[in-house]
Symmetry: C2
Subunit: 345 residues, 2 copies
């Protein structure tokens, strides 16, 4: 994760407008910073588009912009988020993630060392996820017109054979599985931003989920849908599934894995862990007869060690998500309306 | 290009942080603004990734971030740029452009009407270029931490059969063709930004170039390389080709199509038209025996009506770009070093 500024870049210790102007400074940034970190044959061509082999199957395509504040937080940075966020969107669609692009919008004055560290973390995350960053772009905006470093990543992958995921496939009786503790990412970012201190440091769960998804999809037939509950938390992900399937979902609050320190932080900030972002968790809706086997496969995977069955699909309240609380009451789980945890990813 | 704010969005006439929070406001923006404008089956699934048919050939993949100021300028807006810029990067690699993704980074306070107009122009540009915007993302940053609207678009396409483009293929004697007047885009943006007034309004040349590229590639064998000279202008594009091919390039300044009003604006601002950005022009390097036929095909296409042969590849000065001036002197054409025309795209 260390980064040493290479010689040709040392005359400009911070980003200047020229780094985005398409001239010599732009070329130096590409050749001495991005290329060494991300090196692969497609990127080496240094053209505006990467030419890659045929995928040999249906294309899966996803994009995300990352504007997290601060750029570095316990357990990760905008760099890991930018790679894993896009890898996970592909994985949730049932794809094998293959290639990533990265577009940087840098603010004049950003220390080159900060960019170097972000890029090193992206490169490491890409290696871990088995993807290549094959093409990119860098723009620079004047001081006060950006915020350090925004990154938009886009991924392409190929759909796994035999996989057909859709909320429309969800049926009453289907089982909802969650791959582990929820709320870690959102609370890690909020804690450092709000200066909260707990006995235990809350770390982001930012990690790639494609191999966990692959484990679940070893038996693809009974898997209805996969989702990574990022912005808006589990609530938004469940809402989308309920709405798109027009089936009701019922979650058992007591079954939901939440770390004590995350629960404490949520209470302090008046938040529901179900509304807090995750960056390394998934939910799977699976046919009832296949749920236990899917759970076992998840638990054998490091990213799913704390997986649990957290609820069921039901015909009792089509399109609505309900939570059964610790005192056996039932409440409707609302999606957040607007702002709650800004710039969490 | 007109845009009327749909009913569910009217409670929030400007972008608020909640539009990027992944909750109900985010969903409303997607469903009532992006979906109606970009509508296509892949986008309608409203998932984080688009699942698309197999491409059936080599994948071409390109990304660009767009941070132009102002957002609207004579002849275009950030919306047309975001679509055509990525379409053209695919086209220059010899691809048929197929699918686009769009990631928006919006600043709190951006009028929804402005976003609506940008999105309408993107939709129109996508229709014109024959591509679909199949997936996207929206993030919002606090007032003063962004600049209205940044857009990162990524495109995928399939490589045209029989096409093999590479600067490494350039040989001394090859002919350099330019598809039309250079410097229009950069001077259109600079004129409005600097408040310059000329008798004739300078308009951006922003347009898709994939069908012009297709016309040139009707006979693909003799075509060495295609480039769209955007940021850094013709100089940067020629430099890249010269450097990557290790062949010298010589451009005849008198053969270069430059509009009188663009030349006047350049003189006023102390700029060389060869350094000024284009968004609807391409250069092609073609084997000498095929140059006249390629020029004829270009001129039959509306986007190439003013095409001209502007120079030659030479073994006289490997890797160097030289310009033969109007007084028959020869000067070395340098790439811009750093800032010259900031935020032109």
């Amino acid at each position: 994760m260390e980064w040493t500024c290479p010689l040709p870049l040392r005359d400009y210790p911070t980003i200047v407008m020229g780094h985005g102007a398409g001239g010599q400074l732009s070329a130096e940034l590409t050749e001495h910073l991005f290329l060494p970190a991300f090196r692969n044959p497609a990127l080496e061509a240094l053209t505006d588009a990467a030419v890659l082999p045929s995928l040999g199957g249906p294309l899966v395509f996803s994009t995300d912009a990352f504007v997290v504040r601060p750029l570095f937080f316990p357990g990760g940075s905008v760099g890991e988020l930018a790679v894993n966020g896009t890898v996970n969107d592909l994985a949730m669609a049932g794809a094998i993630p293959l290639h990533l692009s990265a577009a940087f919008i840098l603010e004049e004055g950003l220390p080159l060392e900060t960019l170097g560290r972000i890029v090193a973390r992206m490169a490491e995350a890409a290696r871990r996820a088995g993807v290549h960053i094959v093409t990119g772009d860098t723009k620079v905006v004047e001081r006060g017109h950006g915020d350090g470093c925004f990154i938009a990543t886009t991924g392409v992958g190929v759909l796994r054979k035999g996989v057909e995921l859709s909320p429309a496939a969800v049926r009453p009786g289907d089982v909802i599985l969650c791959s582990g503790y929820v709320g870690d990412h959102g609370m890690a970012v909020m804690s450092v931003r709000e200066g909260l201190e707990f006995e235990t440091l809350i770390e982001s769960d930012c990690q790639p989920l494609h191999t966990l998804a692959a484990a679940i999809l070893e038996d693809p037939g009974p898997v209805r849908v996969l989702r990574d509950p990022t912005r808006g938390g589990l609530a938004s992900a469940l809402h989308e599934i309920a709405r798109q399937s027009n089936v009701g979902l019922r979650v058992d609050e007591t079954a939901l894995p939440v770390r004590p320190e995350v629960r404490a932080a949520c209470e302090l900030l008046g938040l529901d862990p179900l509304h807090v972002a995750n960056e390394g968790k998934l939910i799977a809706v699976v046919a009832p007869e296949a749920a236990e086997a899917a759970l076992a496969r998840m638990r054998r995977h490091p990213a799913g060690a704390d997986a649990a069955i957290i609820g069921l699909a039901t015909d009792a309240h089509p399109g609505v998500v309900a939570v059964r609380t610790a005192v056996s009451a039932t409440r409707v789980l609302n999606m957040i309306f607007g702002e709650q945890l800004p710039r969490i990813c």
